[in-house]
């Protein structure tokens, strides 16, 4: 039985590339997570926004993939992952949105108005 994890990627109207992950990331599928992120990075014009709001579980293996790519991506996450991301220190390496509970998901969020640096 594999851990459920799906990806969707798109380019927002303002040109930002977004990778949306849904499911759980653990030791068994962190390689898939890494591959999907790399693919999205390859297709992205600038920095990649990784949307983790649909991720119910993220362990250190998944975190590690994000950390080694932190210079090239930004993250949006829900409050569920907030302690984890804060503890891991990734918030000091790149911008992580939504940790304190941002606007509604799906539509344009407040952070989206700002162009990625």
């Amino acid at each position: 039985m594999t851990t459920p994890l799906t990806f969707t990627s798109y380019v927002r109207a303002d040109g930002v590339s977004v990778l949306v992950a849904t499911g759980e990331v653990d030791l068994s599928n962190s390689a898939d997570f890494a591959a999907a992120t790399d693919a999205a990075l390859a297709g992205a014009a600038g920095r990649l926004l990784v949307d983790l709001r649909g991720v119910e579980y993220l362990d250190s293996a998944g975190l590690n993939e994000l950390l080694i790519r932190a210079g090239r991506l930004e993250i949006v996450a829900g409050t569920l992952l907030a302690p984890l991301l804060t503890i891991s220190g990734i918030t000091e390496l790149t911008t992580v949105y939504g940790l304190t509970g941002g606007g509604p998901t799906g539509v344009v969020a407040p952070w989206a108005a700002e162009p990625p640096a």
Binding site: M1, T2, T3, P4, E24, D26, L27, S28, Y57, L58, D59, S60, A61, L63, N64, L67, I68, L80, P83, L84, I87, S88
Partner: protein, 1412 residues
């Protein structure tokens, strides 16, 4: 007797089935007894208890014997044989005890009966037994204890006796008591007869050592006179009233009717030998000794000891005859005792005789005083004539010898001045007596008061100014004259001025005259020392003198102001004084104008005349003598004194009569000079000082042979000077001769009470002074001889003796005190809280006891207390303290004298007696060997106040088992030295106490599981005496027996538990449950309580707790059937009410099943829903995570088969909340006699609340422990405890793909725990990391292992553990920088994380708080 060689060359007695194994003579002799002929039969057939007892007996080095079986067959060990049995050995072995101890059977049998019937040990301390072991009946004392011996069934069938001999101690204490009584006479001084009568009464009280005594004293002619006797009637032939002169030799007793009645023969007692100072022994054979008293014994003495009553420096006073106890040998101790008695008598006689001599002298002195007083009172009025005959010629001589040398003029001045002074004094006295008699001849004439007063005042000007004082005279003329007697007014003004000058040291003296409201007012004001408020009313009283006031002089009669008042009154006026202490005094005289108030016949016309007459001269002369400049100090000859210390040197060598070193203290310069001249003239060396303080300094600087001091002195008066001298050890013994002008009995008593040695009243003759000086010095030397003698006496006392001064400081201790407490006289004085008192901080209770005893003295005067004190080396002593408050006749001060008798041994003996009883009680109540050992160890530690106690049992296999009190209870945790000591005891003889000399004691004994060693840590400095050893041995014997009995209970109990468990409960409980079953402590049987859990098909769980009536196998059988039936019914139809209904029908047909109570429930562990019904069972208890508690008290109905076969039963539903506890139990847990059931239920709930954070199993144990009554449960208890949800336990293969499903399971379980979402997420991640680590690291090199995840939620905490079967690799940061992140995450998300690597795998344990 079969003997075999054990291969090491040692022979062992093997007969008797090894009971008598050992290589002593006693073993062989015991083995040789024909046991088959005794009621005990052959040793091979003896029960284990008898064999154990014999083993204890034989292995002990303490004297012991035992009696066992129906005829109380006699056994003893080697020590007993040696010390006590004597010739009865080996005959006695194996015989009935009645035959062995025929002569003391009366004593023994009653005690054995007590032991066998009550099972309690006896304790006899120092029992008198007349033993024939030394060839004569001998007075002996033994301390022994009989303790019961039990057979294998626990019945007392014999007794074991441990003995120790006390003869030396008992006799020693008895003699000490007599010596103490002799020394306890409260009256210090009395006659010889009184002293001997008192001593006689004390000696009569010891008819043991002194069946009779006779005291003979030598008269001057050498005849010995019977002065005291005890034990013998008057006129007994052995007690002749007189024995002929000691020096008469062969002619002793001849011709004297009161003689010994045996003319020509030796006297009855060897008076001559005694007179030579030699003691002798007299064999009491012959006629005079035919009918001697026996004292406390069956037969009279056969010998007497004659001891001289020694006198220091001369032949003996007499001799003491002491009839001796025939049951004791005449050894050194006996001789020493009689000699000490004689010493007491001699000391008493010496003291009585010297007291008599002193008394005689005191009476002579008193007679002298009386005569003198009478003389002075008769002749005082005769003074004036001789006085005028002195003054007149002296005046003339002054004129004639104006050209003579200064010495002659000086002498004449002295004569003149003192004649003036004496004249003034006599005049004043005569004035006063005239006034009193109404014979005062006054002549009142009109006078100018202001001028007259001013003139009188001017007379004093020079004296006032010389004193450095300001002098204001303000006397404006008055409008009209005042009628005055000029002579009287002169005395008024001069007395007031003289008074003012005497008490004023700086400031001003002011004299003023004014008119005020129709009266003439004269004031004399000073800025002197003032008068205290309480003295003011008495200021004008005759002879009243202010005590202790600071003044220029203490000369004076105390009559001046009284006279002034009388004189003013004669003028119809008044005088008042207004004063403030330290500020000054104002005297105000008010006189009326006119003459209406005066007797007409005393009025004369105004004649003028001189204001100041010759009367003024003495006043001024006297005042000038007070002032320092006026003092023509008679110069002490410096050469006389030489260097410092000459006084001491001379004193040591001074022969009777001097010369002596004398300090003279007098404020009157003339007197000082006169005394100095007088004493120097007699060859003495003199230092002269002007007041008490200077005298004190002079004496302290170099103590003289004598201080001659005036009573009245400024700064420090004579009485207080003496008191100060007596208070300091260095000067206390300096004799003091007091001088005073005050005659009379009272004054001399005051002086003597203050500590003066003699008292001389002025005036005195030169010869009298010199004689008194010599007598006082000599008497003081005699007194110091007495002090030495007294010292020897107190040191001879057997009791510790001490004296405290008025402030409580200890100023004297005797030798016995030093022996007892270790504190010697060299450190005297000791403070009021001396170092032998218990420390106030460390032992407040003991301190209070001692402080109270001394405090009570203030009210009660005397008392006897038993008090704890501390030896110099730190150990505790108990003393019987006799304390008394006494008046020191020398100093007049209140003091405390006390004696201490060491009663430590007695006190501990009482404690130990109760300890034997306490230990026996503990052991008899113990329900298991562990309890017995715990209790016994606590008792032993308590008894010896040991800081720690350890008992180690050495089983045949395995490590030593340790029970400890105040020490670690594990062999490996014990100190190495202690382990060695315990091992040595294991290998040593049984019941032989061993003390290591450093405060550790131990004893070896037999535990049913192997040899046992007990060790007590008493702490350094605590003595462990032979008596302690005896007791430890005795107690260890009791303990061994008690352990053997408790061991039988253990075995029975284990059997019962094994049986019960075989019947009870499911082998495997569902998760989340914990159960306990405890049979009643006694009687130990299987019971009818049960619990059960049944796994139902739908995942629910059936829960049953029941309690059948009764106990024993019958109840257990019923219980088994009901349990099986209930199980079957639940599986068939999981509705609790219907199960119970069916069970009703089943129970109705099952004998003994009626009235069983049952709780039956069905629990859905997923939802926590619980359906239940109760058949008369106590309610379940539910405790939520927040501590909220409620009872499952619905669905209740009657116990089984009570209502018949029909009807319905109620049924209730409830929910066990997440993280809540459910407790079901049988009534044994909560039911207590005379307490409501609800109270027990409430307590159970409280225990759950308190323990809701602990694990289920520990909590179940805690509930059982907390609810247990002190003596254990008296009914069976079954208990079932459940916590919802049950802990999660998941085992999964170590593969990454398994992580997600495991996570899902964990998430579901966490949801059931009803925790906050963030907590769930944190726990999930932490658990996930641990699992991932287990998969990734633990099994990287060894795939195929499993990982175990366990999670448990308690009230507000969640516990997680992840265990793998592999080995974690430590993170290698360089190879994989992210590897360590998992652990960091766990630590960040959970409160505690521990990683425990092991050979079989690694376990990560984490926990975190779950409540917000």
């Amino acid at each position: 007797m079969a003997v075999r060689d054990d291969g090491q060359g040692r022979k062992r007695a093997a007969a008797g089935g090894g009971v008598f194994a050992g290589d002593g003579q006693i073993h062989r002799d015991l083995a040789a007894v024909d046991w088959a002929a005794t009621p005990l039969g052959r040793p091979e057939s003896w029960p284990q208890s008898l064999r154990t007892a014999v083993g204890i007996l034989l292995s002990s080095r303490f004297p012991m014997w035992m009696a066992y079986g129906p005829e109380l067959t006699f056994f003893c060990n080697d020590a007993y044989r040696r010390d006590t049995l004597g010739r009865k050995y080996p005959w006695a072995l194996g015989r009935p005890s009645r035959e062995v101890w025929t002569e003391v059977w009366e004593h023994s049998y009653s005690r054995i009966t007590t032991v066998l019937s009550t099972g309690q040990a006896t304790w006899d301390e120092a029992l008198l037994l007349l033993l024939e072991r030394s060839g004569y009946p001998e007075e002996t004392y033994h301390t022994f204890s009989y303790s019961p011996l039990r057979d294998d069934a626990g019945t007392a069938v014999g007794m074991l006796c441990v003995v120790s001999e006390d003869t030396e101690r008992v006799i020693g204490e008895r003699r000490m008591a007599t010596l103490r009584d002799l020394g306890s006479d409260p009256s210090v001084a009395r006659t010889e007869e009184q002293m001997l009568a008192f001593a006689g009464r004390q000696l009569t009280r010891n008819p043991y050592d002194l069946p009779f005594t006779l005291t003979y004293l030598y008269d001057e002619d050498g005849t010995a006179r019977l002065a005291g006797r005890t034990g013998l009637p008057a006129g007994h032939p052995a007690a002749p009233a007189r024995l002929a002169a000691a020096g008469d030799g062969e002619g002793a007793g001849d011709g004297d009717g009161a003689g010994d009645g045996r003319p020509g023969k030796d006297p009855v007692w060897p008076a001559r030998q005694a007179a030579a100072g030699e003691p002798s022994v007299v064999e009491l054979v012959g006629e005079p000794f035919a009918a001697l008293p026996a004292g406390a014994w069956p037969l009279p003495p056969t010998r007497a000891l004659v001891v001289p009553l020694q006198r220091q420096g001369a032949g003996p006073y007499g001799f003491l005859v002491a009839g001796l106890n025939r049951y004791r040998p005449l050894d050194d101790a006996t001789r020493g005792f009689v000699e000490l008695v004689a010493g007491h008598l001699a000391a008493g006689i010496g003291s009585a005789r010297s007291f008599r001599a002193q008394q005689r002298r005191a009476e002579e002195l008193a007679e002298l005083d009386r005569a003198k007083t009478a003389f002075f009172s008769n002749v005082s009025h005769e003074f004036r004539t001789p006085l005028s005959l002195i003054m007149g010629p002296a005046e003339e001589l002054r004129a004639h010898l104006a050209g003579a040398g200064p010495e002659v003029r000086g002498e004449l001045e002295v004569i003149h001045r003192n004649a003036l002074r004496l004249g003034k004094l006599v005049n004043t006295l005569l004035d006063f007596s005239r006034i009193e008699a109404g014979r005062m001849q006054a002549r009142y004439e009109p006078a100018d008061l202001a001028t007259l007063t001013a003139e009188l005042a001017s007379v004093f000007r020079s004296a006032v100014e010389r004193a450095g004082l300001a002098y204001e005279v303000d006397c404006p003329p008055l409008a009209q004259p005042v009628h005055l007697d000029r002579g009287m007014w002169e005395k008024v003004v001069l007395n007031l001025l003289s008074n003012a000058l005497k008490f004023t040291f700086d400031g001003t003296i002011r004299v003023a005259v004014r008119d005020e409201r129709g009266q003439a007012v004269v004031t004399v004001a000073d800025t002197g020392v003032g008068v205290p408020g309480h003295e003011l009313p008495r200021l004008f009283e005759r002879f009243h003198r202010m005590e202790n006031a600071r003044a220029r002089s203490h000369e004076g009669s105390g009559i001046g102001l009284a006279l002034v008042r009388e004189l003013v009154a004669l003028h119809g006026g008044t005088i008042t004084a207004d004063s403030r202490e330290g500020e000054g005094t104002v005297f105000t005289v008010r006189l009326p104008y006119g003459h209406a108030h005066l007797p007409a016949d005393a009025l004369v016309a105004g004649g003028g005349g001189p204001a100041v007459t010759a009367v003024a001269d003495p006043f001024v002369q006297e005042a000038l003598r007070w002032l320092p400049e006026a003092e023509p100090e008679p110069e002490p000859d410096a050469g006389d004194r030489g260097g410092g210390g000459s006084g001491a040197r001379q004193r040591a060598g001074a022969a009777a009569g001097g010369p002596f070193d004398v300090v003279v203290a007098d404020d009157n310069a003339d007197m000082r000079g006169y005394l100095t001249r007088l004493l120097r003239g007699a060859g003495h060396r003199v230092r002269a000082v002007g007041d008490g303080r200077a005298a004190l300094e002079a004496v302290r600087a170099d103590p003289p042979d004598l201080l001659v001091a005036d009573v009245m002195m400024p700064r420090l008066d004579g009485l207080r000077t003496v008191a100060a001298l007596r208070a300091a050890p260095r000067t206390a013994s300096v004799p003091v001769l007091m001088l005073s002008a005050r005659a009379g009995q009272e004054a001399s008593v005051e002086g003597l009470e203050a500590g003066a040695d003699d008292y001389l009243v002025k005036p005195f003759s030169a010869a009298e002074l010199l004689a008194r000086v010599r007598a006082t010095v000599e008497l003081a030397r005699l007194r110091s001889h007495h002090a030495r003698w007294r010292r020897a006496l107190t040191d001879a006392m057997q009791e510790a003796f001490f004296v405290c001064d008025g402030q409580g400081a200890v100023v004297e201790v005797n030798a016995a005190f030093t022996r007892m407490l270790g504190f010697g006289p060299e450190d005297l004085p000791y403070p009021a809280v001396p170092p032998w008192w218990p420390a106030r901080e460390a032992e407040p209770e003991a301190y209070r006891q001692v402080a109270d005893a001394f405090g009570a003295l203030v009210e009660q005067g005397a008392g006897t207390h038993t008090l704890p004190v501390r030896h110099r080396e730190g150990h505790r002593l108990w003393v019987s303290a006799s304390l008394a408050r006494v008046h020191d006749p020398d100093s007049g001060r209140s003091m405390v004298v006390g004696t201490f008798r060491d009663v430590t041994a007695e006190r501990y003996a009482v404690r130990r007696e109760s300890a034997v009883a306490a230990l026996s009680l503990r052991l008899s109540r113990a329900g298991s060997t562990a309890q017995a050992l715990d209790g016994a160890l606590e008792e032993l530690c308590g008894l010896w106040r040991a800081g720690s106690g350890v008992a180690a049992v050495f089983p045949a296999a395995g490590p030593p088992q340790v029970t400890a009190w105040g020490a670690p209870a594990a062999w490996d945790a014990l100190d190495g030295g202690l382990r060695e000591a315990l091992t040595a005891l294991r290998d040593g003889p049984r019941l032989a106490p061993y003390a290591d000399g450093r405060g550790g004691v131990g004893v070896g004994l037999e535990h049913p599981r192997g040899p046992m060693a007990v060790w007590l840590g008493l702490g350094a400095g605590r003595p462990f005496t032979d008596r302690d050893g005896t007791l430890l041995s005795l107690l260890a014997g009791h303990l061994a027996q008690g352990l053997a009995r408790a061991f039988q209970i253990d075995q029975q109990r284990e059997t019962a538990l094994a049986l019960q468990r075989a019947i009870l409960g499911p082998a495997a409980l569902p998760a989340g449950f914990a159960v306990r079953y405890e049979p009643a402590a006694r009687p130990l049987e299987v019971g009818g309580d049960w619990y059960d859990t049944v796994a139902l098909a739908d995942g629910r769980i059936g829960i049953v707790v029941g309690d059948c009536v009764g106990r024993g196998l019958q109840a257990a059988a019923v219980m088994g059937q009901l349990r099986s039936a209930c199980r079957a019914l639940l599986l068939q139809d999981p509705r609790p009410d219907r199960v119970l209904l069916a069970l009703d029908r089943f129970a109705a047909d099952l004998p003994g099943a009626g009235s069983t109570t049952v709780f039956c429930g069905v629990l859905d562990p997923g939802s926590g829903r619980l359906a239940y019904s109760s058949a008369g069972h106590p309610p379940g208890v539910l405790v939520g995570p927040d501590g909220a508690t409620r009872l499952l008290d619905q669905g209740r109905s009657t116990p089984l088969a009570v209502r018949g076969r029909s009807g319905t039963r109620p049924y209730a539903q409830d929910v066990v909340p997440a993280r809540a506890l459910l407790l079901l139990y049988t009534d044994g847990l909560v039911e207590r006699r005379r307490r409501p059931l609800s109270e027990g239920v409430e307590r159970a709930g409280a225990t759950l609340r308190e323990g809701r954070h602990t694990g289920t199993r520990e909590l179940a144990a805690l509930v059982m422990e907390r609810m247990a009554p002190p003596d254990g449960y008296d009914d069976d208890v079954a208990l079932l405890l459940y916590r919802s949800p049950a802990p999660l336990e998941v085992d999964f293969p170590a593969e990454a793909g398994r992580l997600a499903p495991v996570r899902r399971q964990l998430r579901e379980w966490l949801d059931r725990c009803e925790l906050p979402a963030q907590t769930v997420q944190n726990v999930l991640v932490a658990a996930g990391e641990a699992c991932a680590n287990a998969v990734e690291h633990g099994h990287r090199d060894a795939p195929g292992g499993t990982v175990r995840l366990r999670a448990e939620a308690r009230a507000d905490r969640l516990y997680l553990s992840v265990a793998d079967s592999g080995r974690w690799k430590p993170p290698e940061p360089e190879a994989a920088p992210h590897r360590g992140r998992g652990l960091a995450l766990m630590r960040a998300l959970m409160q505690h994380v521990t990683v425990t690597p092991g050979a079989g795998g690694t376990t990560v344990a984490m926990d975190t708080r779950t409540a917000p």
